[in-house]
Subunit: 470 residues, 2 copies
């Protein structure tokens, strides 16, 4: 609980109406989209402007009160669970699109803007913001920046980091800094912009962001290819890239995922196939036409059972929606759904999926796999029940094996979900103890009192998943 | 001078033949491409592999000997001048292309590889590495990474940072770490990869890099547009982007630069025009054709005096070569050539060029301006004589005014050349004292003994240009 004095100082900054600390409020902000992590904050606070954020941070830094900046809490690494208490900062009052600059192809936003709303706003003036995390209907740009969110269009267009070109940030000492700007090029000092993107709120609080936009693609086409076995699907991915075609989207669903998605969405997906690829290309009409034709040919040469190109935009969107619904569909199956994002070099996809199947069998757990095949970014998803301690132990062990295999194949423990609490025990597997030491040195340098989202990214112990009943 | 003991320890690592400390050797490595900075190192050293780099760094860290990692010394910010003595590390023995991976679209190289040689090697298998700094014929990839080099293709394709996806780095304590990998997505911890890119050798030594490649564009076309006044050229830039066309290259030369380039290269450029735009588009043939036609139309609508599309690839390359020769051509004019790279938002180009003209007049100095108009990245270039102290004082003041104007327009003190010694006194103008403090904290955290390229990026005093006779 906040001391009376700290509470009074915070209320003096934001007003009584913008500090929430009733039990129901605290419960709301005690968890995020990650199963099995829950911890109560001492308060949630809703600043109205950057200056207030800075004042809040100064109080917290003096009083050593932890701060968790939170968007919509859709992250999947327990990145916004207030595991050491303290205050959760919310951006409901800082949710404006400040400017769309059509000459410089930028949009400047406050952190609380909903991703999809911003995407729609820039598309209205024929511009395009490519990163499209599955949570984009409710996620905020501030959250996307903290987690360096990916999405379905990452293969061709990259991730959030590739579009953040300027930030206003409140540092852990309360200093307000501005990095980058409406600039295509800037090498004035260290790249604090990219250091902050994906730093999970552990180095500062983003209070404004300038994002790069690109022209909106003139057209797009969507197709679906069905396979008997996943090796053929993987072969299609390799051959497409080798043919110098970079599709916008190259998504993979394994058989169990297709089954579950079809049960959920009823869009007529065949449920008896070994693997499905969802492929999308966008751009200039004749190039899209040619690419889609070539990809269809590659699918057939790779033994696709069928290749279907959506005839209308609506039909294409229905196919994409099916893929986007995978997590929701899987979440219906069992009380607890754990979605991971082990990532490997693109060429290792088939090997990784087979390994996941074997690992699931070895540990007797149910894992479906789907994900961004073109990026090597897979989402092995386990349907389980957090109340079954013994099963959860096996799930934990299975995921450990999956991470180890990903690293073994030159991959990483997390492609787009972040480290948070969930992957902290495995960070050294990817970056080495020396890498963790370097990262901790940076954290310590900027946040000596460890007030910014403490307990995230760096593990205190080897303890893995904190199981708390919800 | 190195103590006998330190010298002996370094020789024990690399062998006598790989430690250079004769006077002529030291003079060779006492300066880089930046005029008017010179300082003698104590030795130059040529490690043969990463392990040797690590051992060298450990000795230097123990003995507090400064280390300056150096590619080909083509940087323009005095980034590789050994201003505090110590050893210069050379990568002549670490110059191999380790692997071109056609499945994952990556190339893995040692730092000493010459940029152009790598570009040619990947183009042989129909892949493409876009960053093309003007120095690419002699610059090294290691140097490009340290400086986050730009180039003529930056508008469409971005800069070096956008292509570095994995690094092997020796940290200032001698630890060897690996960041990233052949991965389209990786959010395991802080983005050390991008923090190191552009850190000018102040945070560690790059010993291997994995770079992202893209498919080689099928075709490209080059055109030249001539204008009476630069406002019309700037209008062409704005209108092109507003028409949703992102050309590969959109270069600008003012009248004095055109005159000097033509005198040097004799390719038939008209020397009596107010401004020239060099425009290039690459990609799929029909799209390139259409874009070039549209851009030509925009040029004419913006009052271009003439618009000429190169009929052959050779003719196009001749035009590009003319632009690439701008610095060499200008350098013939006077004993000292100072090339700057103040950068502004694209929409502010005309205003910035006019301001530069006014500032040159105010201080009675000769400044030609050319650069990457599409990026807002200008190269105001001063032809002067370092021996004329009074004139140099005026040059210094003029550049100060130019930096101030760039900042005023939402720009930066350096778009692609780096801070080094030259811009260190101005860094706070861009990032604020608070930003400099944050950057210094990171430097201090990773390099507490300040052995890595000391004296760069952060100014010790307000002293600007150290004039040393060459």
């Amino acid at each position: 609980m906040l001391s009376g004095e700290v509470r009074a100082r915070l209320v003096a900054i934001v007003g009584e109406e913008n500090l929430l600390d009733s039990t129901q409020d605290l419960i709301v902000y005690s968890y995020d989209a990650t199963p099995n992590y829950q911890a109560m904050p001492d308060a949630a606070i809703m600043p109205r402007q950057t200056q207030e954020v800075s004042e809040i941070v100064k109080v917290c830094n003096e009083e050593k009160v932890p701060i968790v900046p939170r968007g919509s809490g859709t992250n999947l690494c327990a990145g916004t669970t207030p595991v050491e208490g303290g205050i959760v900062i919310l951006f409901q009052h800082m949710d404006q699109i400040i400017e769309i600059d059509e000459e410089n192809l930028t949009v400047t936003v406050e952190p609380g803007v909903i991703t999809q709303e911003m995407i729609e706003a820039v598309e209205e003036v024929n511009l395009f913001y490519p990163p499209d995390p599955s949570s984009m209907k409710i996620s905020t740009i501030g959250g996307n920046i903290n987690e360096n969110s990916g999405g379905l269009r990452g293969l061709k267009y990259g991730v959030t980091r590739d579009y953040v070109i300027g930030l206003e940030v409140v540092l852990p000492n309360g200093d307000i800094i501005r990095t980058g700007g409406k600039l295509a090029k800037d090498v004035a000092g260290y790249d604090l912009t990219r250091l902050l993107v994906g730093s999970e709120g552990t180095l500062g609080i983003v209070t404004e962001a300038t994002l790069k936009l690109v022209p909106k693609p003139k057209t797009k086409k969507t197709m679906l290819a069905l396979y008997d076995c996943l090796e053929d699907a993987a072969k299609t991915v390799s051959k497409t890239i080798a043919a110098q075609i970079i599709p916008t989207t190259l998504e993979f669903l394994d058989q169990p995922t297709v089954q579950v998605v079809e049960d959920f969405a009823n869009i007529g997906l065949p449920t008896d196939v070994g693997a499905v690829l969802l492929i999308e290309q966008d751009g200039e009409p004749e190039v899209v036409e040619r690419d889609i034709e070539k990809i269809a040919q590659i699918c057939r040469e790779s033994n696709a059972l069928s290749v279907e190109v959506a005839e209308t935009v609506e039909q294409g969107e229905q196919l994409t929606a099916a893929r986007r619904s995978a997590l929701s569909a899987l979440a219906r199956m069992k009380p607890t759904t754990i979605l991971e994002d082990a990532t490997v070099p693109r060429s290792k996809i088939a090997e990784m999926v087979r390994a996941i199947e074997q690992i699931a069998e070895d540990h007797n757990v149910q894992i479906c796999t789907f994900g961004h095949a073109g990026d090597g970014n897979l989402h092995p998803t386990c349907m389980t029940d957090a109340r079954e301690k013994e099963e959860m132990q096996r799930v934990e062990e299975a995921f450990e094996d999956i991470f180890a295999k990903a690293i073994d194949l030159g991959g990483t423990i997390t492609g787009e979900h972040g480290v948070g609490i969930m992957k902290a025990p495995y960070l050294a597997w990817k970056v080495g103890e020396e890498g963790v030491t370097a990262m901790k040195a940076i954290k310590q340098a900027l946040d000596p009192n460890n007030i910014m989202n403490p307990g995230k990214m760096f593990a205190k112990s080897a303890r893995k998943r904190v199981v708390v009943s919800r």
